[in-house]
Amino acid sequence: MNEALDTSLNMMFPPAAFYLHAAPILALLVGGLVALMAGVFRGNPDRPNMVSYQIGFISCFPSVIVPLILLSAPGSFGMSVTQPPAWLGSGFLGDQITQFTFLIVGLGTMFTLFMAEISNAGRQLLRPELVCLLMFASAGIMIMASAGEFMAFFTGLELMSVSLYVLVGYQRFDMRGLEAAVKYFLMGATASAIILMGMALIYLNIGSLRWSDLSSLNISLSNPFGVIGLLMFIVGLSFKLGVAPFHTWGPDVYQGAHSTLTGYMSTLVKVGIVMVVLRILGNGFSGAEGGAWLAKVFWVLATLSILVGSVFGLVHNSVKRMLAYSSIANAGYFCLAFATLALSPTSPEARQAVLAYTAIYTILNLGTFAILAWLEDSSREDLLKEELAGLGKRAPFAALCLTVFILGLAGIPPAAGFFGKFMLINSAVSVGLVGLAIVMVVLSCISLFYYLSILVEIWLKPATRSSVNPQDNEDARDVRVLVGIVAAASLVIGVVGPRWVASINTTFARELRSSSGEVKTGQAAPGVNAPVQQDM
């Protein structure tokens, strides 16, 4: 009798280690609420509120400190190295992938808040609700990335999505922001419903909502419900990720939202979704020809996204729309990694390549949009490509940083993007996806064309009357320092990142279920530094 009671008490009151691992999420949720309350009690709620900004900024600290501790000392706090634990009935996985995501999301949120604070236009946004919504969206991403079963994932996904619908339409008297918000809402809500229906079909097949039980899902073509369910799940996630046939909302939403928030949306949201796909595919499926057709699906998605991203990016004049297409192309690279994972689910190289590419892509894109927000600050709403003409002379530092980011996104060797793409293609070739790898390389050469067309405007064209002219004031100095740091970081992480990611234990956490009285094997004796193994 006591055993059952103990189990249910454990579910309700998880051990102290859980609170340490989940501290980033808890801090963000509490911080968001406190920031909102600070707006109620202090001054005019329609004015920017620095107190709630500071509260929000501070509540991001745990999501940087906790992962750094847990990633640098994996065996500490009595945690097993080989088999990380899961709590809340697989609702929270305490593994290193979770902590890695927390670190990226925490740093990205701090960066977004800071960028909003130091730019003129951004500061007008900093009302308490913005801080609260950003905190909640980040908490949603973290919940999603750390979820080991469908219910926690869906709650996180909706927490993130609903916050983002509001954030996109945050300037509610701006027609374009509102239009983007409505489009994003309709697409996002439909995608959520498709994900839900797909999971209902999968659940009908396996009778469980846990990712770890997905390995018993038979995805051979003789099982239509399983196949359709999985396909709907993938389609829904592709909507959210902005993968090619489902990308139509992307450019509109990116253009309509404020640049600071666009940077947030195009990076951290994708980090969360990518981690979820990694966790779903990483368990493998059963069924004879299982992974083969799944890999083909991702093959098609990857090719289409990179094609659409590279070709349609050429015809647009708005810099933000071009970057939206660039992020569609990057979603294609993630699909390349997913194809690799579908073929060899437990391959640590494929998982590490995904982690490395998310980190690198996040830094590059956040930096690019930070510069855009800065340039828009001193000109007008939507920056056109011609307006960048002569930027190299007028604001050499901004132009230099932008060049570093764009070279990185294009994947030219000294910048970070090259190493990310190299790892992705390397792991794809090692599982036999040579054809797809060749297509990727050829298409990324095509996409070079429009990345370079931006650089030509910046460095080679003379300034015209319409070109943007960044003001040199006190704000600009802060922005310059911050963007410079990010540009340097993006260069450094290109060299250090892959090696750092290789040191991360990509084993998924697993619940220790003692249904038949025996504890699952794989738990190392405490204190023993057993060699890292991949779970099956």
């Binding site: 619908y165 839900l196 209902a200 659940y203 009908l204 004049n317």
Partner: protein, 101 residues
């Protein structure tokens, strides 16, 4: 002979198709939002029926969560539509053309 949960399951597929058609072919944003609610409810029905068919309770738990989430989404969606109507005096999807490349 189909049992009741199976009938419910097939009915939920039908509802899902109806909702999907509504999202794709309707031009009024309010009706598109209603169609999304139909989609979510179709998924709910499928979860409950699957719960009965598999003999596990998880699906019914999901249903309650989804009902709460659907309420949040409806609240946000209606707020956005009202804000849109105030600035534009129209909620037709075809009128949303400020953002074009």
């Amino acid at each position: 002979m189909l049992t009741l949960p199976e009938i419910g399951l097939y009915f939920s597929f039908l509802m899902f198709l109806v909702g999907l058609a509504g999202v794709m072919f309707r031009k009024n944003i309010l009706f598109m939002m209603l169609s999304v609610e139909v989609l979510l409810n179709a998924a709910n029905l499928a979860f409950v029926c699957a719960s009965k068919l598999t003999g596990t309770i998880d699906g019914q738990v999901v249903m309650f969560f989804v009902m709460a989430v659907a309420a949040c989404e409806a609240a946000i969606g209606l707020a956005l539509i009202i804000a849109l109507y105030r600035t534009k005096a129209s909620i037709e999807a075809d009128d949303l053309k400020a953002l074009r490349g």
